[in-house]
Amino acid sequence: MNSRTRPRRLSSRDLHTILDVTSALAAPFDLMTMLGAVVAAAKQVLNADRGSVWLHDPATGELVLEVATGLKPVRVPFGVGLVGACGRDRQMINVPDCYADPRFDQGIDRASGYRTRCMLTLPLIDHKGGLVGVMQVLNKKGGVFDADDEALATALAAQCAVALQRVRMTEAVIDGERMRQALEMARDVQMSTLPATMPVLPGYEVCGSSRPAELTGGDTFDLALLERGLLIVLGDATGHGIAPALSVTQMHAMLRVAFGLGADLDIAYVEVNNRLAETLPADRFITAFIGLLDPATHRLRFQSGGQGPILVFHATTGTWASHRPTSFPLGAMPLSKVQPAISIALEPGDILVLLSDGFYEHRNTGGDAFGEARVRELVAAHRASSMRELLAALQHGVDVFGGGAPQEDDMTAVLVRRDARGTASRTFARSFDALPAIFEFTSGEFARQRIDVGLLPTVDLAVEELFTNLVKYSKGTEAEVRIALAGLPRGVEVTLTDYDVEPFDVTKAPDVDVSLPIEQRSPGGLGLHLIRKLMDSVEYEYSRESRESRITLRKTLSGA
């Protein structure tokens, strides 16, 4: 959820408090303790007198109050009162004067003898968009909840939702085969914090993935769109099993909160490091790359605690830059300050390649490691492929090299490519509703790249026909469709990439017999028929590795 309010510049004290709280939320493993921790956290961060958490009961559609300081348990249907309205609308409600708001139930105060002045009510929504519950804080000490509190509360609510969800998952397995299930749970927790969909950053293509080893290895990554750009994280905790899985999850959460609230990169790095140094056992640490990419200036600023190599492929020259870590691994020891973040510029076509040890150190049966040279070779060979395709090629490359050797460590990758000069791409939801946004994209790119506008209706037609075809026939996938548009001399090239699908070669679709009498005509196949007639060329490629279809269309102005 986006708060309408702009986060204030985060003070070091605020960051301290919120990281304390995030850290505390990582500990509990049972629901009652977690609910207590969430309420305590909310009260502490928002300086509130009381707090409560209502859990969503999907079976009845009610919100159930399991913990409330000084109140009896109670169930509230969706839509009733402030809690019910918040649960139904999934919107934060800030009421400065409860007795002036008709939704407020004064009966609760009468029963408890407590006087509620002001109240902030927030939905708790997990990573997958499901409603976990509703959090409510009452009576801010010395005033009412303001815009700053709303921003803090929004960040906190996201953490609380994930923490509560984690505990529910934990409780669900606690009775089972303890060790195996606990391991699986740790891995599920670890995987559940990874981004479910890739963020859309105009002018860039980003891709991240983590393939866990049998004994989960403690990798994490994050790609999150923030107000000031893209947060890029790749982390790897030492060791295997439950502890590393949970410690990277904790780091992941702290970074999300800190940067979501607008924290400075260097300050956040030191704070998160120090928090990990306090909580991790002495023999454990986390290597991590933490970067912020500003898509307007194309500058990437990063800190890297022992995570390397940090590779950038310069597509135009075919050369490489390799950056070293800026500091020792996170959590190894406390830091008082860190050297300023390294800042690099990404040129058109450049690819940032971040891979965990699981790639570089994967050994074949002869004991040789996959190594950096093979990674560089594969990246260079796939410079024009999509990032998903490059990712699949890297994973496939490791598998082939390994020759059946078991995967000993998590394999985690983050790939970020700046669009090559003269191309732009965006992804679109697999729905007819995306058509207006698609036409906005094509007309916008025609204007920006100064492509002859006479070609626009033809390009729109081809894109619409292919896109609606993908929506209609690629049923098994929810993946977004990527459309790229590049100006050519006196023309244009359009590429549609359809992810996670079976092959369907549009160039092989049967032609329509346009000479048939009207009673034998049907609209079927007309779209593809028109594309072949209107376009100069139509090419189809399918990658089995990445289950990806790619259709490339070209059209140039004819002499006429």
């Binding site: 509703d433 058509l435 037609l461 026909e465 009207i518 007309l526 028929h529």
Partner: protein, 97 residues
């Protein structure tokens, strides 16, 4: 963006972009017309196969009842589309002046 309506002269005036998202609106309107009708396409900027399907279905229905749909004010770009689709054999098409 997309509009379809009757003119005072009894023609149907269609304008804007007739894409897959707008096709159901156009179909619902054209399902209500009868007889021989001129479709004024002067303001029609764009049509995709979904829109062609709407025109084809309407033409089949009107022809069966002894009427027809005429297309008037058809731009160069639309003429190309109708030509490649073979619709110039199914409709009387009057180019834009």
């Amino acid at each position: 963006m997309f509009a379809i309506d009757k003119s005072p002269e009894g023609n149907v005036v269609i304008s804007g972009r007739l894409d897959a998202a707008q096709a159901p609106t156009a179909q619902a309107f054209l399902d209500q017309i009868d007889g021989t009708v001129t479709l004024d396409c002067r303001g029609l900027e764009y049509i995709s196969s979904a829109g062609l399907g709407v025109l084809l279905k309407t033409q089949k229905r009107l022809l069966a009842a002894g009427g027809k749909l005429r297309l008037a004010g058809v731009s160069r770009h639309l003429q190309d589309i109708f030509g490649y689709s073979g619709f110039d054999r199914l409709f009387e098409i009057e180019p834009a002046k």
